[in-house]
């Protein structure tokens, strides 16, 4: 069977078989213990976990490790498969970081599309007061699903950029642990399948935050969602460890820490957060799981008679929020730091000027990551948290504005008196700065206790958050897609369609974000299916919904553009942007092993426009002239 030569098909079969095995196993154990044979939730949990293992076995991500356990060696195979078409490598386990990067990015775009479509459904519902198309319970599931699928999609997009770019930028032949890299990508697939399957298990009504006690009482969908997030979290942890080791151990000769491309700094900062904080969302979801299934009352304020007898204190729901936000606040920096790195990476190329304040930019990424660990409780000002924590967390939150301000200052300084060019990637970079400014300026009022007491859980927060995500991830991600598209495919995208994409999404997003902020101030609560017509915000909602459709349309334009150009576009030059970065000094598309010979770093990375400045000293045999 040809179709079974695709790893992903074998993986899905493995997941189905594994899930069935888990269901049967739990039922058998319950029978042996003399309990009623069928109980849905434990069976589903064990089924989901064994199913995930089944997927990883089926897809082949564990094969080499199983052989190692038996003491066999497995030499690394690089290059497209020899016995089947080359495109199949994208649907199977492949150890080349460029293939894995594309796998991450494409899967990320797919998930973003799914999550965006869900948003369009409930945005349509919100365009009018009253309930027209969906019920309140469906609405709840949809916005929760929108949130978490978007987060998974963004994490995959971040993984795509880091996996594709970091080894190229530091001159490494691959990531430090290629097998772990493949594992880290593929574990996302059963994770995403689990999260989406929550739709068919009754959905859930807590939103993506999964706060107890509601998440303890919610339908089983919440369990599928939490297990899916757990798997995606594993990907974050192994992927970030891989990135950190790669950067620490595999830089090209001469590339000191302060000669690394700025995006690599962003990748390091992001990885530090992902590596450590992810454990805490995993732990908090695990605690909810054992509370649901085994009745372990971490978050249950009600004590049983026996618990009172042994003198136990009650559980506490606020503990969940502490653990949860310890990850989930830094997580937004995971989303935006690579994007801000892309902005700093691309601006000097298109301004033809040195990056203003390289060291400050590099360290500001690190500073955002580290300060980000100390701000989580600003999500909990209204949650009944210990009052003495409010002021310290308010000030820590304000501190984040300092390194972020450094970045803005540097961007303005780089643009200042530059010779600006405006191809599509540059437009998206400038658009990202404008959008991120909206997100940045609406942030401090949420971090200030006095104003947050009023703004908390309003649509203002929705507007703020979407502006940071679009400015910090979506726009820079699109910029990166257009910018490295010729390197990845060897063909040029269509510039007119690229510009059309930009001129649809930018005004579309401004209207959406400012609209959300406005209706929030006028009294719209977040996460509700309906609102009072007397608030007078229905027109605002119509604008937001229409803008949402415009954004969706613009993304379809981009997908058409990239899909068409990848096959039919004009052949791209090796260095269409006159970049100084090493990956642009080799042919397009980038060869299987990237660099034929190791290069040496001889200067500063962003000395654009300075006569005689060099960054990369390539071996003559790998010079771009040989490529055209």
């Amino acid at each position: 069977m040809v179709i079974f030569s695709l790893g992903i098909i074998r993986g899905i079969v493995g997941q189905i078989v594994g899930t069935a095995v888990g269901l049967i196993l739990v039922t058998l154990i319950r029978l042996l213990m003399g309990l009623p044979a069928w109980k849905a939730e434990p069976a589903m949990i064990i089924g989901a976990l064994i199913g995930a293992v089944g997927f990883m076995i089926g897809v082949g991500a564990l094969s080499d490790w199983f052989k190692w356990m038996g003491g066999k060696e497995t030499p690394m195979h690089h290059g497209p498969p020899t016995d089947k078409p080359a495109w199949t490598r994208y649907f199977s386990v492949d150890y080349n970081h460029k293939v894995i990067g594309v796998q991450y990015a494409v899967t990320g775009i797919l998930l973003v599309l799914v999550a965006g479509s869900l948003a369009l459904i409930f945005r349509t519902e919100l365009a009018q007061t009253g309930l027209q198309y969906i019920e309140a319970a469906t609405f709840n599931t949809l916005f929760g699903m929108h949130g978490i699928v978007m987060i998974a999609g963004i994490l995959l997009g971040v993984g795509g950029m880091i996996n594709y770019l970091v080894p190229l930028m530091i001159g490494a032949s691959d990531m430090a642990f290629p097998r772990l890299n493949a594992f880290g990508f593929w574990i996302n697939v059963p994770g995403a399948i689990l999260v989406i399957s929550a739709l068919f298990m009754g959905g859930w009504d807590t939103g993506w935050t999964g706060y107890p006690p509601l998440s303890v009482l919610a339908p089983m969908g919440v369990q599928a969602f939490m297990l899916g997030v757990y798997l995606v979290g594993i990907s974050s942890i192994v992927g970030s460890a891989n990135t950190l080791v790669t950067v620490a151990k595999m830089r090209a000769p001469g590339m000191s820490w302060f000669r690394m491309p700025i995006f690599v700094w962003a990748a390091v900062a992001t990885s530090i957060i992902q590596l450590t904080a992810t454990q805490l969302i995993g732990l908090s979801f695990l605690m909810v799981t054992v509370e649901r299934v085994l009745g372990m009352g971490f978050f249950n304020p009600v004590l049983t008679a026996h618990a009172i007898e042994v003198g136990s204190p009650p559980g506490n729901v606020v503990l969940f929020q502490h653990l949860f936000w310890f990850y989930s606040h830094p997580a937004v920096y995971v989303f935006i730091l690579p994007g801000l790195g892309i902005i700093s990476e691309l601006l000097p190329v298109f301004a033809r000027k040195p990056l203003f304040g390289y060291k400050w930019i590099a360290l500001s990424s690190l500073a955002i990551a580290l300060v980000g660990f100390l701000v989580w409780a600003h999500h909990m000002f209204t949650a009944g948290m210990e009052p003495f924590l409010r002021i310290p967390f308010q000030f820590a939150t304000m501190l984040v504005a300092v390194p972020t301000g450094v970045k803005f200052f540097s961007w303005v300084g780089t643009i200042w008196r530059g010779k600006l060019e405006f191809p599509t990637p540059m437009l998206f970079v400038l658009g990202a700065i404008s959008v991120f400014l909206i997100g940045g300026l609406t942030g401090p009022p949420n971090g200030t206790v006095t104003t947050d007491l009023y703004l908390h859980d309003t649509y203002w927060i929705v507007g703020h958050f979407h502006a940071t995500m679009f400015g910090g991830f979506i726009f820079p991600f699109f910029a990166a897609l257009y910018y490295w598209f010729p390197k990845a495919t060897g063909r040029m995208y269509n510039e007119r369609l690229g510009k059309l994409h930009f001129w649809l999404i930018l005004p579309g997003f401004w209207v959406q974000s400012l609209g959300q902020i406005a209706v929030g101030l006028l009294g719209m609560r977040r996460r509700i299916a309906d609102y009072d017509p007397a608030l007078g915000i229905q027109n605002g909602h119509v604008w937001i919904t229409v803008a949402g459709y415009v954004i969706g349309l613009s993304v379809l334009v981009m997908i058409y553009n990239l899909a068409w150009s990848a096959r039919k576009g004009p052949v791209a030059a090796a260095n269409p942007w006159r970049s100084r970065s090493p990956e642009f000094q080799i042919p397009s598309p980038i060869p299987e092993h990237s660099y034929a010979e190791a290069f040496v770093i001889t200067g500063e990375p962003y000395d654009y426009g300075l006569p005689g400045a060099t960054y990369v000293a390539m071996n003559p045999s790998a010079a771009p002239a040989a490529a055209d």
Binding site: G71, E73, I237, L244, L280, M287, G311
Partner: protein
Amino acid sequence: MSASAISQAEYEQQESANRLGLWLFFASEAFMFAGLLVARFYLWGDTRPHLDQAVALIITAVLLLSSYSMNRAEVMIAHDDRKGFLNSLLITAALGVVFLIGVIGFEWQGHIRPTDGAFGAVLYGMTGMHALHVVSGIVFIFIVWNNGRKGHYSADRHWGVHACAVWWHYIDLVWVFFYPALYLIGTAQ
């Protein structure tokens, strides 16, 4: 694991990358275990349940002994003493099993049940998560023991043994903090 096709310099370069990766994973896990400790202090404060002190002290001693024998195993293979290495590994695994029996067979049979409010949740959560890691360590030991039996490690090349040993010590390290947090700190109710 033991790739004979590569030179010693390449092996050591790979080993240094592996080591950094493993320690980064330790750092990651440390946050999870710290999260459990946070839960313990947040929910229990300066109280703790009445638990069997003798059982706790015995399993702590057993785990410490196992760490010692694991260190012996690594010293032995580093000096090409294959027989002593394999025996020490088996002793370590056996002590690990004794530890598990102590946790599941004695500790978990006490008067505190998992459903007993914060006492039950934290006690079973912390010991359960730690026991899960002990199980993973025992599995790891048997994989290494099996490969060692086939003659896969040498004094110069035994990253697999080193990784297994460091992982086992890490599990002991976690217990160094869990033991006082569960059994010694606070007033027993």
